[in-house]
């Protein structure tokens, strides 16, 4: 870019660095015969009844805008879904907004609550978009690393240590991308107490809530006193295999949602109409498909995690999402080296852990949302790779 042009770039926007994932995407897409464990989305295509609902909405001429917050019947369906599945109570009229993926909900949430200098504690290793979203909203992201000794959970002591006078909110995401960590009711209650004591908000990204394998998901918003300080973000991408439809939603206290709706109204108008019709069908008739996909993820999780441990890469059994996060420290390589060499020598793409925060160094993220046949082949290749460097 010429000097003149770069002078025009916003100083705030220029602070953003391209995601470390990009590099691996570029490398891997140029190679043949690559097995990718780097994909952060389901390997299932959207269930057919949902696709049919999308077609039907087009055939019936639903090609116009919907209300800003989304179709009322969809919001009603989301409201009863949250009640049935997670014992949460949100008003369809005033406390739910349909968004363009959970990503837009994250952006909306930060823009609605942050002023210059406000700090947001971001629990890491975590999804790559949180900190940039805080920066763009004028706030200051404060990464807080969780560690394997705590099973990558957030502890009250850790949280306390990161709080300053400027802290306004904490972002948590359990089940976690990339660690797969989950938190129990009791663990969340301990954290909630700190949040309440310091009068903070919490943004809870629960996009993987449906994908928990050992115990049911518990939302922090269920804890007495937390509902009024929680902005809950979720969507259809992961549980219903609808990533490309771009449909998420956000729920929270009415006063904050009002502000979010105003921003949404000016910047997005509404979430895609066709996707909203698809989502309606997913909520009404999608449970069986969801359970089938979940069963398959759980089986593949068991296989890949046990395989990693057998080949000497220590790996916790993640409670949710579809990622294994094995430690590669026994190989003596950095996570970047490991990922790059593995890609070049064995054609398996994984994502180095440091991409998700400094605390991810020493780990790689392996998505098991890939066919069992590919996972079996990937395990063979990784084992050969690990053996080769262990004997050196």
């Amino acid at each position: 870019m010429s000097q003149v042009q770069s002078d025009y770039v916003s100083k705030n926007a220029a602070k953003l660095k391209p995601s470390g994932i990009r590099k691996f995407f570029d490398l891997a897409s140029q190679m043949d015969n690559v097995i990718s464990l780097g994909v952060g989305e389901p390997d299932f295509v959207t269930p057919w009844n949902v696709c049919e609902a999308g077609y039907a909405s087009l055939e019936n001429g639903y090609t116009a805008y919907t209300p800003n917050a989304g179709l009322l019947n969809l919001r009603q369906e989301i409201s009863s879904y949250l009640k049935e599945q997670f014992a949460l109570s949100y008003s369809a009229e005033t406390e739910i907004i349909c968004t363009v993926g959970a990503s837009q909900a994250i952006d909306l949430a930060f823009r609605s609550i942050l002023d210059a200098g406000d700090e947001v504690i971001i629990v890491e290793p975590g999804f790559v978009a949180y900190s940039p979203a805080v920066t763009l909203a004028g706030g200051t992201p404060v990464p807080l690393e969780t560690v394997e000794e705590d099973e990558f959970k957030l502890t009250p002591e850790k949280l306390k240590s990161a709080i300053t006078e400027r802290t306004k909110a904490v972002l948590i995401c359990f089940p976690s991308n990339p660690t797969g960590a989950t938190m129990t009711e009791d663990e969340l209650k301990d954290v909630a107490k700190v949040i309440e004591d310091h009068d903070l908000l919490v943004l809870s990204d629960e996009i993987y809530a449906e994908l928990t394998y050992d115990q049911p998901h518990y939302s922090i918003a269920r804890i007495p006193g937390m509902r009024e300080r929680t902005i809950l973000i979720s969507g259809f991408s992961k549980a219903f295999a609808m990533t490309g439809w771009r449909l998420g939603y956000v729920t929270g206290p009415e006063e904050i949602l009002k502000v979010m709706l105003t921003i949404h109204q000016y910047t997005m108008m509404c979430a895609p109409t066709i996707a909203q019709h698809g989502a309606l069908e997913a909520l009404r008739n999608g449970r069986e498909d969801l359970e089938r996909m979940k069963r398959s993820y759980r089986q593949r999780r068991n296989f890949i995690v046990k395989s990693f441990n057998r080949m000497g890469l220590s790996c916790r059994m993640p409670g949710g999402a579809f990622y294994a996060f094995p430690s590669i420290q026994s190989t003596g390589m950095t996570s970047d080296e490991f990922a790059e060499k593995l890609l070049h020598e064995e054609r398996v793409a994984v994502v180095p852990g440091h991409v998700f925060g400094e605390g991810g160094e020493g780990y790689v993220r392996c998505s098991y949302a890939t066919s069992l046949e590919s996972l079996q082949e990937a395990v063979k290749r990784i084992e050969r790779f690990v053996d080769k460097y262990a004997s050196n």
């Binding site: 994932i21 897409s29 952060g40 068991n302 069992l372």
Partner: protein, 164 residues
């Protein structure tokens, strides 16, 4: 039947050639236990057979025709349809026999080398059985999906290689 056994059956129904070790990992049980479980399921005739789904249209050198025949029969006292069903399924060219509700009684699937061979079977063996009242033969033209398997799948993973 416990949950794990059902899970094992579901996985095997989908892929009978899955390595035992992988299957054991998936259901989170020791290999020996899964092995024992499968053996017992076989002994109980719950697992009857391990077969493959083959697209014969693509396999050069073997031609054949498949026909589905709707058969109306008179059930017999005491044994109902079972007796005549058995007399039909004992023919080796008969691949499946189902008792159906609706316009006819038995749905019979036949495989033969040629249409003539199938026609011969229907006219000389099937129609001549005492209890058989009538037959309607439909020849199969093309298989799109069989036992949950799509015959010409679009296999390409359409996702981008690496994503957050």
């Amino acid at each position: 039947m416990n949950e794990k056994e059902i899970e094992i059956l579901e996985i095997l129904e989908d892929n009978a050639r899955i390595p035992l070790e992988v299957l054991a990992d998936m259901v989170d049980l020791p290999v020996e236990e899964v092995e024992k479980s499968i053996l017992s399921l076989e002994e109980q005739d719950i697992i009857l057979n391990y077969s493959s789904v083959i697209n014969w249209d693509k396999a050069a050198g073997k031609d054949g025709v498949v026909a589905m025949i709707d058969v109306k029969v008179t059930p017999k006292r005491d044994v109902g349809f079972d007796d005549v069903a058995e007399r039909i399924y004992r023919f080796p060219e008969v691949k499946t026999v189902y008792l159906m509700s609706g316009a006819y009684d038995l749905s019979v699937q036949i495989e033969g080398k040629t249409m003539k061979e199938v026609a011969f079977f229907v006219s000389n063996k099937l129609s001549t059985l005492d209890s058989v009242l009538s037959t309607t033969t439909h020849f199969l033209l093309k298989k799109y999906k069989h036992d949950g398997v799509i015959f010409e799948p679009e296999q390409k993973d359409k996702r981008i290689v690496v994503s957050p």
